[in-house]
Symmetry: C2
Subunit: 255 residues, 2 copies
């Protein structure tokens, strides 16, 4: 069943007219057909829906909204702060971690990042990543599309990150040999309610974090360095594996 995302609050029994960019997407890109059933995920979660009219020329569609469908997203909000990397590595991180259920992916140029982006390139990349996230969210049956952002430096993300009042900020650091991710998470199954803030996983670039970066994260966000065990994971694998560990530990991989 196709799953699409809208910003509206959905009311069962009412109809929803989508136009603008979203309407164009429904009518012309997805080629929605009259009578087709789908799941529409709005501001208040996923709902069953039927297409009652589609105007391909105008790029509009009208949907009859049905009952809510079960929510599928993890309760734990997970933010991946991913060092910018060369080639299509970040594309893959966005795709995979979205599938798995992360809440947001912030890409940041770190000291040893190879492949920094100009402002123009960054804008184009974020649009591309957001589209990849939307496709992955649809295919994996997510409730929301993760937010994707690009920051030119860690300093640039300081204010937005501080606003989130994170529950934990964990640096995946190959230098750390003692503190495992489970230990740092220190999750007990009774404390669900206390996790108002997200868990933040910071993934370094291929060359690793600099000492200045380690100190900045520790000083600014009380970040703890954690190990993922004896194997050295590449930057495009580490975030996904750490996210799987967090979801496993918090009962989000099927309990």
């Amino acid at each position: 069943m196709r799953r699409v995302f809208v910003a509206d609050t959905l009311i069962p029994g009412q109809s929803l007219v989508v136009d603008g960019q979203t309407g164009h997407h429904f009518a012309r890109v997805l080629r929605l057909e009259v009578g087709e059933t789908l799941v529409v995920s709005g501001a208040n979660g996923p709902h069953a829906a039927v297409a009652v009219s589609v105007d391909g020329k105008a790029g509009t569609a009208t949907l009859a909204i049905g009952d809510p469908t079960p929510r599928r997203d993890p309760k734990v909000r997970l933010l991946i702060v991913q060092a910018m990397a060369k080639g299509d590595k970040v594309d893959e991180v966005v795709q995979r971690t979205t599938e798995l259920g992360v809440w947001a992916v912030w890409v940041v140029a770190m000291e040893r990042t190879v492949g920094r982006l100009t402002a123009d390139r960054a804008r184009a990349k974020v649009i591309r990543w957001q589209r990849i996230a939307e496709e992955a969210a649809s295919q994996s049956q997510r409730d929301v599309v993760p937010q994707v952002a690009y920051y030119r430096s860690a300093q640039d993300l300081q204010t937005p990150l501080a606003r989130l009042t994170a529950h934990r900020v964990l640096l995946l650091d190959e230098r750390e040999t003692k503190r495992g991710i489970r230990q740092a998470l220190n999750y007990s199954f009774s404390e669900d309610e206390q996790w108002a803030g997200p868990v933040v996983l910071v993934v370094g670039p291929e060359g690793g974090f600099s000492d200045a970066e380690r100190a900045w994260w520790a000083d600014t966000f009380l970040a703890q360095s954690v190990t993922l065990g004896g194997r050295i994971l590449r930057t495009e694998t580490a975030g996904l594996v750490a996210a799987a560990a967090v979801f496993c530990e918090t009962g989000e991989l099927g309990g």
Copy 2:
């Protein structure tokens, strides 16, 4: 530090002459230089080593073997049985799960597999996958290179799999909604010693398992279906995520 793999049993203080394909690989592909230090992982685990002579023309190298270096592989042996898939998806599964620490990857054509291989193509693919596994094992500092194999059907892998006397065989099945992977694993930290047999994770093709396949795995290997939670993961993501969950649960991701 470079890490290379040999079949020999290594003895500290002795020298090791490598020739044949391995010698060619050392001398001509890796372009090993005299005096270069490296880690050589042999039948008895990883050891420090220094290249004492290299003959590029002949394709031979002599290494002085030093002390053992710490083992890094997980205690739990994990076998991924991955449904054959189109394109380079299996390449990626081999690469990523090797990094993470799996013991073997067996690729099998399942009922709904798109992209079956002829015998010739299968031979070429296995060579390619084995090379990918070796590179990933080297870069992630593994002790061994996972074994990669291709089977034309599940029936073809019945005998070799039965020989392994697996500890658990778990089918990652999007139809399963109740039994989570942690629950099926039912791991307690005191039982390390009992895990003589590997844990087997069976990953279905894009179209999912057929009912006949579900029945065959349950009947033949007492396989349990498990869920990885509410999100639907693609075939090339599911094995890595499930492996991360198993390693997390068994304390292999840094405790």
